[in-house]
Amino acid sequence: MLKGKVSLDVTNLDNFEYDMSKCIKCKGCYWVDHIYMSGVNFSTRCPSATRYLFDSYGAYGKMRIGMAVLEGRMEYSDELLKTLYACTLCGACDVGCKRNLDLEIELSLEALRIKAVKDGKGPMPEHKKVAKKIIGQHNRFGSPHENRNKWLTKDIKVAERADVLYFVGCSAAYTNPEIARATAKILNAAGTPFMLMPDEWCCGNMLYSVGMIDEARKLAGRNVEEIRKTGAKTLLLSCAEGYRTWKVDYPKMLNISTDDLGFKVVHLTELVDELIKKEALKLTKPVDLRLTYHDSCSLSRLSDPWTPWKGERGKWGMVSPGLERRRGSSGVYQPPRDILNAIPGVELVEMVRMKENAFCCGAGRGTQEAFPDFAAWAAEQRLFEARTVGAEAIVATCPWCKDNFIRVAKETGENMKVYDISELILASIEG
């Protein structure tokens, strides 16, 4: 809809006709912000366009393809599905575009996937397999649901009731228990009681990300209600993808604002940073590492809170009522850095592409499942970047990032240690 009633509802691609039709091909979605451009190396932040090169893989191409889909000029094909899904929805394009224009690139891409699913053409077969597992076993691995809390060790104190509820997530529960344990122990060490969900189910990140919005919304509704029942004031996550799903996609799907969830959604790094600054947590043991920090997309540029909006668009493309766009400005960029700088012995070196210019690890939003080679390639790019700045370790705030980096480092023989930030925080508490 170019003029008239419009909303940010991603279930209707028509809402993004204006955005898709106004892309000017400046490739702000592809290049690192020119202010931060570091030269001829590490100059792009769109993994899809950097990998596949054809314009169709950048947002500038996808917006045009999106218009064709909207106008019924484009038939579904393998190539179209690859164009839509060989993309981590990392948000670099969205933030890049909003440096100067305010086009809703990310939402357009989400809406295109939702439409593909609605039209019976998407998602990719690999996604459907995972979806089945999520719906069946409430985790994306298809592991037994009853094993979800097996990560817990005896030395971890879990409260019956607390203001903070730690949402562990599938990865930390099943494949990365070190993250769950570290997070729990950090909370214990900080004297912050926490509870767990009585029956934790997958957050449904994958379902929403690949466009299976009906299933995702059902899951979101259930999960939100379950949290509300616990009376938790704060939902804590150690997984960036989960963080984004709860903070942004749940309100989006439920047509409420982040504030209306009834609880705050907080990432471990936000909490730990606050605790350190309040001196409620002291990091005293040295961790002698020259490391670099990888900004996980979902914690950083994708994590501005959500407010639903509907209104009208009129002359010159102006909307009313006024709309405060999500531009990635309030992402969690600094707290993880402050935490790392507070750990004795740590030497933090920044990669060339950092904060809102970070190059996605390649794993998220269905990419790892359907395009593992692409995910591996993106991780390899990032590890190379880390090596170039002389880092011996790379730190992330998301198990998806961590796993992808470890997998690729192993395959390529890259001599780079990979950590989740929770592990380093714990190491500096416990030694």
């Binding site: 091909k25 490739k27 090169l53 094909s77």
Partner: protein
Amino acid sequence: MAISKEAYKVMEAIVGGEYISSDPVVCEGYRSGPGGYEAGLGYERVMTKIPGCVIMPLTTEEVQKIVRVCNRYKVPYVPYSTGWYGPRSHCHVEDELLIDLKRMDDFEIDEKHLYAVVGSGVIYSQLQEEAMKRGMYIIVGGGGSQCSAIANMIGDGWSPLSYRIGLPHRRILGTELVLPDGELVEMGSLALQDDPFWGDGLGPDLRGLLRGFTGHRGCMGIVTKMAIKLMPFQPEKLEPTGISPHTSLQLPVNRVKWINFTMPSKESMKKAMFEMARAEIGAGATKVPIFWRAIAKASCKEEYWDIWSKESEETIRDFHLLRVLLVGFGSEEQMEYEERVLNDIITEIGGEARRTRPSDESWFKNADSAGMWLMCGGYVSVDYVIETLEHALPHGENYAELKKKFTPPLMPDYGDPGWFQSFELGHQGYSEFLVYWDPDENTDGVDQFYLETSKENIRKRFYTSLLGPHQPLYLTGPAYGPNYHKWMLAIKDEFDPSFICHPPVPLAHDEFVEKAEWMRPMKDWDSPKLP
């Protein structure tokens, strides 16, 4: 298949299967519009097509081979670096090959001899940063730092930083040009050596084929490599700061400083520019169009309109903001000297310094050019001319009058007489007119205005960027030179006898006028039947 199977197969063997495609999804990704430069205008709607095939070569040799294959199989083609320039750099005919040059991103820099060698895939912001790291700088053309450096150097290529440096034409050193028939011409020192450090021709200078005042938009061959002059800068870092969208370069104010001055009149701005040039100080001197100030203040489109709607013809008429850049190229002492001289000049003329942020969001790394679309969704610089300040000011006033007749559909700008600035230390002056419209409304008036501007320039004897492929060639041709079009077409015919390099450019705008019913009544000049 949109191009012949035989041609496709041969080309696939040249670049490898991964770098060629005629898939409809891939090709759709290369559609010109509807958004972009000249967004939603008639030219884009009537004249552009999506490619029939896209190919991405890596080397000059591959480009040559591809062009020869096109000549053999009569496949029309268009070179494409970033696609930024809008419809004029996209396919215009069916079953056309789009040669996407983004893989040609080789880069070398010779700090001692002040030049860099780039392929077509290197953009200005990359080049600027590599230069600045080494105490040098370039002019990032007004199109933005996302422009391919080569494409802009042969197309446009100026900004307020051209105050000292002037025309981009002089910054082109050794260059490779693949002619439309596939022959390679190496220009400058490359003609004799494997070293592109120098640009002058061997005798007559064939860089004359690369462009005119503005460029050929890809219809006269493909530039695959170019050495570009870098200029000495100063040693301190311009520190990038902020989180998107509020990113900017913090200036080391002891060596780099913008200063805004409120001036009593337009004439006084011209005088200030004259005196600065006479004193040989400064690194930039430009009038600031008032709506840019509104864009800079606004956090979104709606806020822009809130600010803008409070302006009027009076406020525009009384708004005279001069923005001056000082750079201590040689030393801090030099900077201080220039600032004292500048203040002497401004005081004499009756201007007043305003508080100016010690940052740059625009001209060094030119991160702001995309913001031109924020206001309305549609934008074009309808004319931009390097001539003299004495040309720039009346050109602007004349133009403002003409613009009123076409407002709406143009955005109301209360008679703003365009943007002007000083170039080449006062030897030249510059005027540019930016217009905006809502691309989702009837834009026929914008197309007509564009052509009317061209006619007005001819009537009033102004020089213009609207030459060559930018306006009907048979309209402007007889009026400038006279008959420059005859030579252009003769050169085109010599090097592209099959007319397959970006057809029908440079006659595309002629064709547009014939094809578009809202343009036809404006045709009051002679032209032969178009090929």
